[in-house]
Symmetry: C2
Subunit: 427 residues, 2 copies
């Protein structure tokens, strides 16, 4: 085994950075790293402010704290950079300059990688000695990146989808289990620290958008522009949707999906999805994550575990460091295969129509469906409490997204409709 001793500059002394530092200290002291044929020393930590309190102990004998990026980037004795700052401004600067300085990079920054994939690949191609690892960027502790880099490369993936955001999965699990409504579970998630004060990135699906872009690259070899991925969050879901989902022997999960269409093109999207209770994804509760992969050789596989948190995420970073020091880093994006993206995917859909009760609504909905070439699979309507505010659900046979969009748009113009119907695919 060819050991590459790593002298590391760590950017970011927060939750995950502290976890990485603690694990490296622990496994240096107890000899684990050495037993694994690995040598990792964190020699500098770059933080925003020297005064900010830190929740981990720094060994001043071996590690210097700095606030100037260049103290790491221009230090020729440092051969590896860990980037845990987040964001795509300073972090981008640091990562690209590190590569240009021929330093290896380990990062957890999904947004940076997903949004600057072509530039990153070009930079890495220009610096062939640089190893680049990012296990922590998607699904925290679950080794899904590494698994896709090596365990599916002799297979043909047809679909990858998953629960990749712990905040929203915690909220959806609460809505399912407690029959609570969206606002209540959001407030609870915020109180417990699972959701941020501004929860937009989580609840509107932007976090998942970057993650599914990365998994698409790994699973299919295709670069997809993050901003073009149709993304619907969970903020319009109501407890009534969980009641209807239950009557369909299903639940609702926020999924990122990349799926081969029948014509060989690829659909990539983020949407709440009706998941039958027989599907493994239905069983992922609380803040956990789960990724499901369908492939030619393997049929269906799932990988589940903690999607965030100090030590799960730090564990992924440390594994990247160990592989790097062992000379076992894998090609970051092993497949290269540009495909046509067509997000007008086909699925069965769940459509919730909110209306005032009246005569002829079902007929009118039926007509609108017919005009859009949509065959209705079922109509679900709970007993009406308030005739001025009725929610009923139509499920469709397999149709295209554009047909459902057009159907919902037309429904919203009809006199009984109170809003644009909420719709989502059914697995």
């Amino acid at each position: 085994m060819s050991i590459v001793p790593l002298r590391v500059g760590l950017f970011g002394g927060g939750v995950v950075g502290g976890g990485v530092y603690e694990l490296i200290q622990k496994y240096t002291q107890n000899g684990r790293l050495k037993a694994l044929g690995s040598s990792v020393e964190i020699v500098k930590i770059c933080v925003r402010s020297l005064d900010k309190p830190r929740d981990f102990q720094i060994n001043n004998g071996t590690t210097t704290i700095v606030t100037d990026y260049n103290e790491i980037l221009q230090d020729p004795s440092i051969n590896c950079v860990i980037e845990l700052m987040g964001g795509t401004t300073n972090a981008k600067d640091v990562v690209f300059k590190a590569i240009q300085a021929n330093k290896h990079v380990v990062t957890a920054n999904k947004a940076l990688i997903a949004n600057y994939l072509p530039e990153l690949e070009a930079e890495l191609a220009a610096h062939p000695t640089v190893k680049f690892s990012y296990e922590a960027a998607v699904c925290g502790g679950i080794p899904v990146i590494h698994t896709l880099q090596t365990d599916f490369v002799a297979d043909n993936i047809t679909k990858i989808m998953g629960i990749m955001n712990g905040t929203t999965n915690f909220m959806l699990s609460k809505m399912e289990d407690e029959g609570a409504d969206y606002g209540i579970v959001l407030a609870e998630a915020q109180r417990l620290g699972f959701a941020e004060a501004d929860p937009t990135a989580d609840v509107e699906g932007h976090d998942v958008q970057a993650k599914i872009a990365l998994l698409t690259k790994l699973a299919f070899g295709t670069t997809v522009s993050v901003a073009t991925i149709p993304t619907t969050g969970i903020s319009k879901l109501s407890k009534i949707d969980f009641e209807y989902a239950k009557s369909l022997k299903s639940t609702i999960k926020l999924l990122g999906t990349a799926n081969l269409n029948t014509d060989g093109s690829l659909a990539v999207f983020v949407s709440p999805t009706v998941v039958p209770l027989t599907n493994p994804l239905s069983g992922a509760k609380g803040p956990g994550n789960m990724v499901l992969v369908n492939s030619e050789n393997m049929n269906s596989s799932t990988f589940a575990g903690p999607g965030a948190g100090r030590f799960p995420t730090a564990n992924s970073v440390v594994n990247d460091l160990i592989r790097l020091s062992q000379g076992k880093t894998l090609t970051p994006f092993p497949l290269q295969h540009e495909m046509t993206i067509n997000n007008d995917y086909a699925a069965r859909f769940y459509v919730r129509i909110t209306c005032s009760d009246g005569l002829g609504i079902i007929r009118s909905v039926g007509e609108t469906a017919e005009q859009n070439g949509i065959s209705i699979h079922a109509v679900l309507q709970n007993p009406i409490d308030d005739p001025s505010n009725v929610d009923f659900v139509v499920t469709t046979d397999c149709v295209k997204l554009s047909q459902v969009q057009s159907f919902a748009q037309t429904i919203s113009t009809l006199p009984f409709a109170k809003q644009i119907p909420l719709f989502m695919p059914i697995l």
Copy 2:
């Protein structure tokens, strides 16, 4: 990337061997291997009989079929051997001679590795250039070996357990879903080809015994003698057990388990286990496999997929070949840490007592429990159909296996008992 061109001798032209050959041919022809920086050529296949019909096409221009092992083992142009013969006699000969000839080895042979682990490690240590991979040996297509070799090495695993036998999981799923009895589902599994004519190795848990020995080595670094692992199969389970499990909001799975005891020793065992429906293992249905890992950094992770079959298993073998040719093979047993094995583990237990109905049975069972220091958690008894043949269930608080064994032994000597009570741990 340092490409090691592999010239491979394949032992075994059966189901998995054929799948490996087909995948290598396919990915050679379509350029996938080359794109991955991999070069693999299967130049000889050793089979038992040249006349036996094969279900895959051999390219006679590039591949020679032979029946004499030495045609591969003594061929200096061959630098890698794939062993897919199974068994521990000829296969052992082939694997050890290949290592002695400094040829890399890829095998799917769990029994061989688990039963000859010290000899194998010594042989590999004596031939340090030889790479040894065995992803297909446990859980077919699920990359659990590779995951343990690299994604948990900076973590401390406290428990690993799993459903690792597709035949029995298929049968138990049927018993759960259809309320069918053991004999009926065994006959159906045999009819469908899921179970062999002599199903002993599967239904008595011997297959899982070797697999949990391997996972124990990977997760804890400890070599455990296969034959000493207490192993109970599923052949004594009856449909009544699934009825009682259901009333406990649980199901029953055959699990291999390696679990840290509170005193730091390790318990390794194979047993049917009562699994609550809230545990992910309860959701693995049919012939699929699932492994659950509890660890310090990650809390709980699961890995699920096909546990057997031509292409899932071949996929694992081919991934081993690709990593080998890329120079990315990992240390086969990365942790080395001898631990005390103490299989007198603590758990809550399910105990089914089969008796003739009569006066004072519950009192007598209670007394026996008390004498063994067992606190009873619950007594479950369905309405009695046949007073001469009553099954009722006692669940215990957390006690040691030896206490339950003694309890069951004493019960079996009491006049009302019709057999030794069946018992199993509750997760």
